[in-house]
């Protein structure tokens, strides 16, 4: 092999020879055992971290996931064009937010079933099936965002509305009246606009321009329904 390799490298060779022309002349009398180690630095690092996440303490795992979720919350609260929400999607954040929202919005079970706010299951179903429907809609319209990425974005952008729910709950502790209602209305409207801005910052880029409105309108309807449920919440 050495002869074949260095023969094209000879300067002053009149005729260019094919690269491994001399290979056929090599005869190996016995099997040459090949042994050794192939080390690729990157791969060994991943192998280390895989075994370490299995052996690490539960606290570390939870903290790492919580930090990821918290980082994404920050991205939602200050929406910039960044890919973090899309690249490392996870559905923990949407689950936490949806459960919190549904727990706060559900009506007491003592009152009559016909009147009153939504049940826990109704809020859950509206949030998750609404998100799935919007995702299907944007994918069918030809968007180039994946299914779970879109669910992740829509779920995380409920965060402003959950904050609005907390604020409304606190405001409702005060005495009722038109001022009370005005404050709640203002807070809900601001958070609704924030949710829409945050989600369109991520989702609108994935659609061709002639279909942006068709893809954004369902998002608007979705957050409008959630805002309506928050605004009409009355504690029993």
């Amino acid at each position: 092999m050495a002869e074949a390799a260095e023969s094209p490298g000879d300067p002053g060779t009149a005729s260019p020879r094919p690269l491994f022309a001399g290979l056929s002349d090599i005869s190996i009398s016995q099997d040459i055992p090949i042994e050794g180690e192939i080390t690729i630095p990157v791969r060994s690092r991943i192998r280390e971290s895989d075994s370490s996440t299995l052996n690490e303490s539960v606290r570390n795992t939870i903290m790492r996931d919580l930090k990821a979720v918290g980082k994404k919350f920050m991205h939602v609260l200050y929406p910039r064009k960044s890919n973090t929400l899309l690249r490392d999607w996870d559905l923990w954040g949407p689950l936490i937010l949806c459960v919190t929202l549904a727990l706060m919005l559900q009506r007491g079970s003592v009152d009559g079933e016909k009147d009153g706010g939504p049940q826990f299951a109704e809020v859950f179903v509206i949030v998750w099936f609404g998100a799935v429907t919007i995702t299907l809609n944007s994918k069918l319209l030809g968007g180039n965002i994946s299914f779970f990425q879109s669910l992740c974005v829509l779920g995380y952008c409920i965060l402003p509305l959950t904050v609005a729910m907390l604020v409304c709950r606190l405001v409702l502790l005060a005495e009722p009246g038109p001022v009370n209602f005005m404050v709640r209305l203002f807070v809900v409207i601001v958070m609704f606009v924030w949710s829409i801005v945050a989600s369109t910052a991520f989702l609108a880029d994935s659609q061709p321009p002639n279909r942006k409105a068709l893809a954004v309108y369902p998002v608007f309807l979705f957050y409008f329904v959630i805002s309506w449920m928050i605004l009409t919440f009355t504690p029993q």
Binding site: K114, D115, G116, Q119, E122, G142, N210, A213
Partner: protein
């Protein structure tokens, strides 16, 4: 369309070949040979490219051969459903505007849903619509419109119904206010059932009567759904206007919206039903209008009652009294179904 041009060229080429081979043959024999496709030639002369486009669709099996198409995706693939959403914002807005202003002879389906620029000529041609050919369904590529119109209508109904209760409580503090979330469920189920089951029944009925008609074929199921979906759009602003607590104004808006959307439905269905017997046509159209009216009245009565039924209505509330009598059977029926 390249296939349509290919058809035209093919025709002339064949004709010139025949002429070249038998120069002394009588012209009648050539026109006889061309008679099976004679209407194609006529269309090429009169309608220009639009006519050729229409005629290509007439020959069902030939269409598959002449148009080179990509193989139709099966219904289990995602791209099959993606083809139903192949529509732009401007197209959807166009179709909404078309549904708001129905005009006789302005066939909504043929003008907007099939992208055909000319309308009157379609009624006079001999049209066979190839039902087995799934390319037909690709023309109605706007499921996104009806679906979101129904969703919007359901939520707007629930929201404005709730707002009516709030406004009623302002005027009369004895009214008990509650969010009434169950109305969202009822609204959603009602609207979606209406927008999907009634077109299913209509489509089934039209296909059953297909044997009576030779000239104009019925619509596909998806086109019927689209017609109904877009016709429900007029109710969205009407429902918002129903917030105004003046009863005669509410009935006026309701009648106006009902007239517009029922007119749109009737004008769209008229060319399909026209060749049927008079009795069947009249019954069908009146059934469509009556169902639409029932939906409108049901929504008005159920969602816009300011007082819950268990409260005794004082006689001074003259506006609420007559509908309240009708309300109890409606409420009991809807409670039984929900």
């Amino acid at each position: 369309m390249a296939a349509a041009d290919g058809l035209a060229f093919h025709e002339f080429e064949e004709a010139t070949n025949l002429l070249a081979e038998t120069p002394d043959a009588a012209t009648t024999s050539k026109s006889d040979q061309l008679t099976p496709q004679g209407h194609v030639v006529v269309a090429v002369g009169s309608g220009g490219s639009y006519g050729v486009e229409e005629e290509v669709e007439e020959e069902g099996d030939k269409t598959a051969l002449l148009q080179e198409e990509k193989p139709q995706p099966g219904f289990w693939t995602f791209s099959y459903y993606q083809s139903f959403f192949d529509v732009d914002t401007s197209q959807v807005l166009d179709r909404i505007k078309g549904s708001l202003l129905p005009r006789p002879g302005y066939n909504f389906v043929r003008h907007h849903l099939r992208n055909r620029p000319d309308l009157y000529a379609t009624e006079t041609r001999h049209i066979h619509l190839p039902w087995e050919h799934w390319a037909r369904d690709l023309d109605c590529n706007l499921l996104t419109g009806p679906f979101w119109i129904c969703a919007t209508l359901a939520f707007v109904l629930a929201v404005t119904g709730n707002l009516t209760l709030v406004l009623a409580q302002r005027r009369d503090p004895s009214v008990h206010y509650s969010p009434q979330f169950h109305k969202v469920t009822v609204a959603g189920i009602t609207i979606y059932c209406y927008a999907w089951l009634v077109p299913l029944a209509l489509w089934g009925f039209l296909r059953w009567r297909k044997g009576v008609r030779e000239r104009v074929g019925p619509y596909t199921f998806l086109e019927t759904v689209c017609i109904y979906g877009y016709s429900l759009f007029i109710f969205i602003p009407t429902v918002v206007l129903w917030l105004i607590p003046v009863p005669w104004l509410q009935w006026l808006f309701g009648a106006l919206a009902l007239a517009l959307s029922a007119a749109g439905l009737v004008f769209t269905l008229w060319p399909v039903v026209r060749e049927d017997t008079r009795l069947v046509a009249a019954v069908l159209l009146s059934a469509v209008v009556v169902l639409h009216a029932l939906l409108a009245m049901g929504c008005k009565l159920y969602f816009f009652q300011p007082l819950p039924p268990e409260h005794v209505v004082p006689p001074s509330k003259a506006t609420a009294l007559p509908p309240n009598i009708l309300l109890t059977p409606t409420m009991s029926r809807s409670m039984a179904t929900s």
